[in-house]
Subunit: 425 residues, 2 copies
Amino acid sequence: MSTQPQFVASSIEDLVASLARAGRVAGRVLARLTPPEKERALKLAAAALRRASATVLAANARDVAAAEANGLTSAMIDRLRLDEKRLEGIAAAIDDVAVLADPVGAVIDEQARPNGMVLQRVRIPIGLIGIIYESRPNVTADAAALCVRSGNAVLLRGGSEAVHSNRAIHAALVEGLVEGGVPAEAVQLMPTQDRAAVGAMLTAAGLIDMIVPRGGKSLVARVQAEARVPVLAHLDGINHTYVHHDAEPAMASAIVRNAKLRRTGICGAMETLLIDATYPDPHGLVEPLLAEGCVLRGDARAQAIDPRIAPASNEDWDTEYLDAILSVAVVDGLDDALAHIARHSSAHTDAIVAADQAVADRFLTEVDSAIVMHNASSQFADGGEFGLGAEIGIATGRLHARGPVALEGLTTYKWLVRGSGQIRP
Amino acid sequence: MSTQPQFVASSIEDLVASLARAGRVAGRVLARLTPPEKERALKLAAAALRRASATVLAANARDVAAAEANGLTSAMIDRLRLDEKRLEGIAAAIDDVAVLADPVGAVIDEQARPNGMVLQRVRIPIGLIGIIYESRPNVTADAAALCVRSGNAVLLRGGSEAVHSNRAIHAALVEGLVEGGVPAEAVQLMPTQDRAAVGAMLTAAGLIDMIVPRGGKSLVARVQAEARVPVLAHLDGINHTYVHHDAEPAMASAIVRNAKLRRTGICGAMETLLIDATYPDPHGLVEPLLAEGCVLRGDARAQAIDPRIAPASNEDWDTEYLDAILSVAVVDGLDDALAHIARHSSAHTDAIVAADQAVADRFLTEVDSAIVMHNASSQFADGGEFGLGAEIGIATGRLHARGPVALEGLTTYKWLVRGSGQIRP
């Protein structure tokens, strides 16, 4: 006999469909809350999470113990582990999202037609967002807060390693949200860790409006391959920094060092450096990286810069290392750099360092990535750094929203038409 | 032996992939043309189409003769048939699109960050658009013109019935576009009528950026079911008009008549009329429709309005008639109307006729359709009527673009970041 009799008679598809329908109904209530009501509910959720601190940390300790028993890597266990300080950080992030400007109800544009009808496009929530994530329990709170602030219901499906942490965080959030007038079903956590639930979410077209995967490349690749629901995501961040021959050497060296080594594991890290053949100080670009232990792999001309640069294979140009490894190519000017980027970029973030404004403008115009930068480190590719206050993810698709996505990317619009009896001739 | 040796060795998937790759390369050239260059190229395309008039009409006569021999319905043959006047209309429509405001390059928003970086979101073309359509040869020109004006390459796949017409129109357009500096591959017509080509387009993720189906419900349903590429479309227009009890009777009667009978075959036509139980003159709403031969199907209370109203089945409330047929329900006020619409609307266009502004505002807020109207006929649901100058289609999905979609909906954006050496702390 199952201890979860409510699921015995149902397929996973039926479970996901019934959760989604309940979420959609709750979402229609949430969508009509005012900005102050949503702010208050989120602050109550943050307060409830702080109150539940002992419970959440105890649940997290169970997850960490299981992870250690199962031999998870120390990096995975670190992502999973919570303490007082991290939990306060999660609660504080909810408070921050609570006071972000509310996109819902904003008038995108307005026009009066010659026949007197007045048309507006007005921002509305998308509906029900599905979040599929891995071991970081903070995603439970971060994603829920962004969805609630933008008036969307959310169906969360976290990783099995964090199951107790996620349940404890979710229970606390819902307690606070309900106190603030948000229906409990507006923020649901998948009640089973059956992996088939992920597949059912991905194919729930018409029930889930958008899926946001948060996790490693294999998760994102699976979601993109299987989804019948629109997906907001990026698979790779194969980001280039091109140092034009007239770049100011100190600036170029600082940007290159920061773009690669500030944090090597984030999606905005540089993975390929392109150096003009006529740039006067190529060694000044690679020396600080080599000195800090970064592995460099280059084409023949790049290898000539320093004997410590290993040969690059064909795969290197299409590899997201997420590590202290960098591929380096020497190029013959802007057109050669643009051609390399067009061929190898994953359309996440590509940057140029150059003094000539006309060269920079051509780079900004012709590179077709979600984010294109001039004289700045690609590590700025982040919703917080872009002034969005937070981010639900970074998208490299071509439709709906690109680059760092926060509240506006969680909305859509409808047309309002106000007439006075107009009929069409 | 095949007479088309270039396809012998290739699978349909390879053919579509090679067309798409050529289209993408050409699209990058097209994307960089200035607004005056795109305007000039489109006007040259319209001129070339006018010059090719005799050739196009001869090709069309072949299609019409084949359609008659194959026993196509007169409605289908009418959609297929061109004459001097219709062809001039197609050319004039290209001239109109040529001078529409260019969305590409527009700055959506801009901000300076505290560290001095300046961020802009700038509109860019989406890339390569796939258009899958049926028997109307005008779509070849309309869709191509909208794509070129918005800087997108396009891969057209028209219906077999119109194959000679489409080839002749396409050849003329390309002649004019090339004269104007647009690469020929920016506007490609699928060179085979093999139905597998449609399937190959629908699954060409990463090669085709968006598919727009133009045609009947079975085409749209197939595209939505099979596509692995984002689709911009609507399946149904199950549009409601709700007559609130305080509606001005002459206005209500005129709107209802227009919404149903002006043209019954368009997606903006009303398919269900909701009448408040306390509306003083329900017979005044239905009498003009009945007098013009419209078939009415009602619930029990609606049938009581007039003996000529037949009983409605459960399916009627979910049926898009596209004909002089209307389902009619009597409702108990705004909440009842909202509940009916939430259950049965296809999210295309729903309207209220009411005097009370607060009632109208609740309807506009709470109805979740792409277009929501107050005191106007749902037949206004059209890109031209909405001031967009044209439309590539009407969308009822929730992401990217909704309602009538024209040039802006054929663009996306990228982030431009202009720095002066900023590195991330």
